[in-house]
Amino acid sequence: MRLTVEALSARRGEDLIFKDVSFTLSAGESLILTGRNGSGKSTLLRAVAGLLRPESGRVTWESDGAEPGTRASEACHYLGHRNAMKAELSVRENLEFWQNFVGDFAGGRGMTVTGAADAVGLSGITHLPFGYLSAGQQRRMAFAKLLVAWRPVWILDEPTAALDVSAESVFTALIKDHLGHDGIVLAATHQPLGLENAQELKMTGFAGVMESMW
């Protein structure tokens, strides 16, 4: 099981945000992106998740069981700045939808909805519409999405934003647990997540203008 990123560069508007980023993550490994606001952490994560067309380079996923043609993004869970939940639907409806729609990846099993809500410490309020929850509760429920369907790679963009201190440690435990089960974690964060052995990549932002093209 290996996520390989080779010579990735990406652009925003006409600016190159980063250039020639390469790394490899195997089962149980994690990489933390740090850097100032606007240094391109989210951009890199989106490029790895296949949501942003990179300017050059590629992202590949290899694993024993996987068919050769699998896009890397299919092996990934992505938790972005936005929660990807519908304010009009109840938390349970939201989680059930993602559970069914995303489905488990070969080689693992997701939790039940109740179990996942429990794991993030909010088992009592799955009947409320998602829009009624507080900012931190929404973030926690968005994280619960990662638990209901199994994916080897978690791509997390500031997972602990808006969380209280106890929830932060719950999240760290969940992430460690995922790593312990041969998961891979790629996270951008401003607050230390408290992972041991995590590699770190410091983003610096702006890597040039694409002027040579013209």
Binding site: R12, R46, S73, Y78, R82, K86, L89, E93, F101, V102
Partner: protein, 219 residues
């Protein structure tokens, strides 16, 4: 996939009120025409199918441009794009949900409006049938527009204009099939079959085009 269908249906009933607003608008449009034409029942029944079709077209367009926009705003679209389901299939399912929520109610309401327009049974039946077959094409065409709108930072209506022209053939054949059913010399089948063909054509082209646009819109 079924999960997506159900979710979108739920949302259209809960939030935007797809079904009812479309039908209400449709009714309003049809209710106003007699004012223009005056109480000439003959004339009314003559332009009836056309008016019902136009009303349906306009109602189908309401809200279609935001088909992917809400998913993008809350981040759901990102996750949808990442899955292994072929994207065109996902779009197809979303179209289906949209049609069930917005198109089908129009089809069901159309006989009532036919009565308002003083149309006879055959005309009403024919109009309903053509609407049933034709409105999905409108949804598929709209999906392309909606997908392109997602890419626009300042998206929106611009797109409906880009795709509305494509809806014109649907309208033409829908209306002419409805007329053919009541007017003697003209045969019903040829325009109706063309309508079926158009719908099937767009059922393929629409989702493919929309999927292509969504993949390329990424930011």
């Amino acid at each position: 996939m079924i999960a997506l269908l159900l979710r979108d249906l739920k949302l259209s009933v809960r939030a935007g009120g797809g079904a009812l607003i479309g039908v209400l608008f449709f009714t309003t449009v049809v209710a106003v025409i007699p004012f223009g034409v005056g109480p000439d029942l003959n004339l009314l029944s003559r332009i009836g199918p056309a008016i019902v079709w136009i009303g349906a077209l306009l109602s189908a367009l309401l809200g279609l441009d935001r088909m992917f926009q809400t998913d993008r705003e809350d981040g759901s679209l990102d996750l949808i794009l990442m899955q292994e389901h072929p994207l065109a299939l996902t779009v197809l399912v979303k179209c289906l949900a949209h049609w069930l929520g917005n198109g089908l109610p129009l089809v069901i309401a159309s006989p009532l409006l036919g009565l308002f327009m003083n149309m006879d049974e055959v005309a009403i039946g024919a109009t309903m049938l053509t609407l049933l077959v034709g409105t999905p094409a409108l949804t598929f065409i709209g999906a392309v527009g909606a997908a392109v709108a997602v890419a626009l930072p300042r998206g929106g209506l611009l797109v409906s204009i880009l795709v509305l022209p494509l809806a014109i053939p649907v309208l033409i054949f829908g209306v002419s099939a409805s007329y053919a059913a009541v007017q003697d010399p003209a045969p019903f089948m040829p325009p109706f079959l063309i309508l079926v063909a158009i719908t099937m054509f767009f059922a393929v082209l629409g989702p493919l085009g929309a999927a292509l646009a969504l993949r390329n819109a990424g930011d």
